[in-house]
Symmetry: C2
Subunit: 345 residues, 2 copies
């Protein structure tokens, strides 16, 4: 005890919504408060999960809490999201997800019938992802001290021999492949909120990516880096990777897959789809010689049919993400301070 | 989808505080809603964690969310509790705890300085328990949708060869050893609440039990069963074990270690200490021939110095816990419906 708080209290003496948004403030909090103090070689990788060895087995371990509002939304619900989110975090560590825990924090007065719908949804999601929910915990908090239900899932999986996902393994010239269209999850959540006042058929893309990623890794176990661009969108993940690897990233606006209706909604609402959450997409860094093969594998699966090369790792602007826009100019794609849409996952 | 909700909605169509209390309603919810639907061989053990094999390594995996109110209390805080609680759940599975995850759900407006105190406390607790916090997650919820901070910790550990903790391995005649005095955590939490109106020096017993349990298992790897009597107290844990093993449990009131001031507070407030939470105690089921040796090991450690034999496994009343009272009568020790003190951990 007695160490000074590493977040300057003169700047932020209280937690803001933006500290949970996946942007700059989130990162500052995580870096200074958590990584700084808990410091160890596994945390230092700053990946979506930790990978460690037991005997000759490499195991990935990850955790996420889900506080999405509303809990039922077009294309999914909090239960499904909680299973797929953790499955995907394991998958982008290169692991085959196997076992999941479920920790429920339920608000007093929550509907038993809605809880049952969520439990059924988690079971279906676990079956689809081929994982087992093997341990759990239930806490109830007083009315007004929660928001219906929050779910934490943690997961463990096995990393196959030869697979090692790390931003340190990215090389200049690697192509950046995105497995499909962006911003669907965030816009689906937004459309389900009371304040959203027009009709859309947009659905969340929430899906388990482990089977798709396994197919890629079976052919190309040496893929250097992958991440799922959830909270904060593709821009936040690309910024994290550029920053961690000290390499430059160039993306091309015209190559980024996005549905016309999503683009239209973003334009009307003044939202930037680069910052909007996805829950069924993966960004892969792939050596140029393997890009056609990886694209072929991805596009053969319904979850990757719209896969595209959206950019590459470059010599210029180390640590930064730059986008060549549709009109040909270069725009720096920074991290946002917070998140355009809070409580997206 | 489409299956009927297994909790009769006519009985409980909303979640009550008691569903999180560790008593009958908690068990009904967990059994019918979660175990019934997620059903698999690991869940069916109904232990504090799941144990599975990767290659020739046996791994324990557990999760708990901490919603204790207040977050700072005599003898500890939510951060320390979150680390020790999960360490202890791994330890009573027979595992050596190694890696811990930390998932924070923070209410908007929470004090940065208090968060920093909690982070430091988690770090000290992890060091004392010799575990590493290797992965984490931070979510922020709107003001009024949380209660300062909730923390989920999950953990993984290695089960040494020869160790297999299971209520199915308990035998008639096994002695029941409790590692120390009961009800300290619950009373410490109560004393920190506004509604409590007298002074006491009672402190929570929150502590990591893994080093103590390791010493016991190194000499006696064949201990059949252990549990830490947290939420719901020793009565709830003994009832779960009696029920799962279909054996009778007899305990003796006069043998149960309890401090005089705790007993006095319980009498004044009409609380039964058998149902009050502990956070640094373990119940061990031990074959009679080994009890003296186990007691000796426990009592040589400050965390086990008050260890005592409190009862045994008997032929009578299978599935039930009976207590011989101080005045010599027999009392059935049932599960409570809820919890005397909500949000104790």
């Amino acid at each position: 005890m007695g160490l000074a708080c590493p977040i300057p209290l003169t700047d932020y003496d209280k937690i803001l919504m933006a500290h949970g948004g996946g942007g700059t403030l989130s990162h500052q909090l995580i870096q200074k408060m958590f990584f700084g103090h808990f410091d160890n070689e596994l945390l230092r990788t700053e990946h979506d999960g930790a990978v460690f060895s037991f005997g000759d087995q490499r195991i990935a371990f990850t955790t996420d809490s889900y506080v999405v509002r509303p809990i039922f939304f077009p294309g999914g619900d909090i239960g499904e999201l909680a299973v797929y989110g953790t499955v995907n975090d394991l998958a982008v560590c290169g692991a085959e997800p196997l076992y999941i825990s479920a920790g429920f924090i339920i608000e007093e007065g929550f509907s038993m019938d809605e809880l049952w719908r969520i439990v059924q949804s988690m079971k279906s999601a676990a079956d689809r992802a081929a994982v087992k929910i093997v341990t759990g915990d239930t806490k109830v908090v007083d009315r007004g001290k929660g928001d219906k239900i929050y779910i934490n899932t943690s997961g463990v999986g096995l990393v196959p021999p030869g697979v090692e996902i790390s931003s340190q393994k990215i090389q200049r010239g690697d192509k950046i492949i995105l497995s499909g269209k962006i911003a669907e999850h965030g816009i689906a959540i937004l459309s389900a909120r009371e304040e959203f006042d027009f009709e859309t058929s947009v659905k969340s893309d929430t899906a388990p990516l482990n089977h798709l990623i396994k197919k890629v890794l079976e052919t190309h176990p040496d893929i250097p880096m992958m991440r799922d661009p959830t909270r904060g969108g593709i821009s936040s993940v690309l910024n994290e990777i550029a920053n961690k690897s000290r390499l430059g990233i160039l993306i091309r606006e015209t190559e980024i897959p996005i549905a016309g209706d999503i683009r239209a909604i973003c334009e009307i609402l003044g939202l930037d789809p680069l910052y909007i959450a996805n829950e069924g997409k993966v960004l892969l860094f792939v050596p140029e010689a393997k890009t056609e093969s990886v694209l072929h594998i991805l596009r053969s699966d319904p979850l990757g049919e719209h896969a595209a090369i959206i950019g590459e790792v470059v010599n210029d602007h180390p640590g930064r993400v730059v986008m060549k826009t549709a009109i040909g100019s270069n725009r720096i794609v920074d991290m946002l301070s917070g998140e355009q849409l809070p409580r997206i996952c």
